[in-house]
Amino acid sequence: MVQDPTLLKETPSQTAGPFVHIGTHPWTVGVEGVFAAQPGQVVAGPDCPGTRIRIEGRILDGDGQVVRDAVVETWQADPNGIFASPVDPRHERVATGFTGWGRFACSFADGAFAVETVKPGPVPGPRGTTMAPHICLWIVARGINLGLSTRLYFPEDAAANAADPILARIESPQRRDTLIAEPWGEGAYRFEIRLQGEGETVFFAT
């Protein structure tokens, strides 16, 4: 017999449901003024250095219908690849005005969401590797039982993407391409997330 290193079990997930906005974006659904601050609305403040980018996204279900009631959170490093988190040993050098975290409600009209940010730098990866510039996305909605994690990479970083240790986990090049944003005009990208079926986006488990 051996010792039993008992660990607690993680609290199980439940769907965020159709009314998630009351918790995350109350001012958009008729609950104004309760909270003074609106978290997640500024990823990179006006003083933040770096290349300004805009990501326009939407989410499609297994029938190709636009999902209009999802909430998307983004998390990324600054232009030097540093996170605004004390867990990153370099965090004292993070860019001015940079939080790296955003939270966006899809439009009830057409499902669109838009992220105004700066382009992240490459980030140190496991065992001396370097991860290509990327933005982590976390998606919750009615019908999603456990928040879905994915990543957005940039089309102009072909060499860095080819060396990225996380993209390398995906065997099929077609599937890998689901994580590369499309160029969408000056400083802008388009990122379509397909929950199911043809062109299903790659989602991660860590």
Binding site: Q14, T15, A16, V31, E32, A77, S85, L195
Partner: protein, 250 residues
């Protein structure tokens, strides 16, 4: 600590997906078209998953965790919400049992009649002019949190022809790592709708279901004022080993 060292690989314990409801849970019909069918691509947690946003006390107002008062104050009213007054409290810990301090806990819920203050809620029950239904707080140095609110009502929802949600409060949690991000729902001891709920029963293991049902906590009840329910939460972790498990050379 030398600078510029990334946090070690494998420093966030892999999530036990069998403990969570599966993405495709046919009893919960909306999940059918919103569930990925390809396997999730597994990778060790990297610096992108072990870091996460930080929330300061300056972002939280004094009434943010008091749903009995926060909407009335915002609308400059002077009434009280209708319904049984309750305290909901507990501790946020990691899998090793360590309290998670500074965790942002956000909640949202229906009013006592089972109606959400949301432009998409078309339930017949009335809105309560004195109740908004959202709150938030940061855990203290031990991981403890506390809210004051009303007991939410059960409500019908379009799934089967006659499905009702048990009384529940939605919880959103941030630990220090973005990879710990969790949204869940708290249920109430003794609610007869619990064994009937397709969303709750998408969870395969009955022990995991029980982990979401908060018991009445008479010790914390405020006499002649509000009953208390205790809801403890466990996030992935543990954070402390993130600093201990750096691989050689980093």
């Amino acid at each position: 600590m030398s600078d510029n060292r990334p946090v070690g690989a494998g420093s966030l314990r892999p999530r036990d997906l069998a403990w969570h409801p599966p993405a495709h849970a046919p009893g919960y019909k909306t999940s059918v078209l919103r569930s990925p069918r390809r396997p999730l691509i597994a990778h060790e947690a990297t610096l992108s998953e072990v870091t996460g946003p930080v929330f300061g006390h300056e972002a939280i107002g004094p009434l943010d965790n008091d749903l009995l008062r926060n909407f009335v104050a915002a609308t400059r009213g002077d009434g009280e919400p209708i319904g049984p007054r309750i305290l909901v409290h507990g501790r946020v810990r990691d899998e090793s049992g360590r309290g998670v301090p500074g965790a942002l806990v956000e909640i949202w819920q229906a009013n006592a009649g089972g109606r959400y203050r949301h432009l998409n809620d078309r339930t017949v029950a009335a809105l309560d002019p004195n109740f908004g239904g959202c709150g938030r707080t940061l855990t203290d140095e031990t991981g403890a949190y506390r809210f004051r609110t009303v007991l939410p009502g059960p409500y019908p929802w379009p799934n089967g022809v006659n499905d009702w949600r048990p009384s529940h409060i939605h919880f959103s949690l941030f630990g220090p790592a973005f990879g710990q991000r969790l949204i869940t729902q708290m249920y109430f001891e003794g609610d007869p709708h619990i064994p009937l709920c397709p969303i709750l029963n998408a969870i395969p293991d009955a022990r995991a279901v029980r982990q979401l049902v908060a018991p009445l906590d008479m010790d914390a009840t405020q006499p002649f004022d509000a009953r208390a329910y205790r809801f403890d939460i466990v996030l992935r972790g543990p954070r402390a080993t993130w600093f201990e498990n750096r691989p050689e050379g980093l």
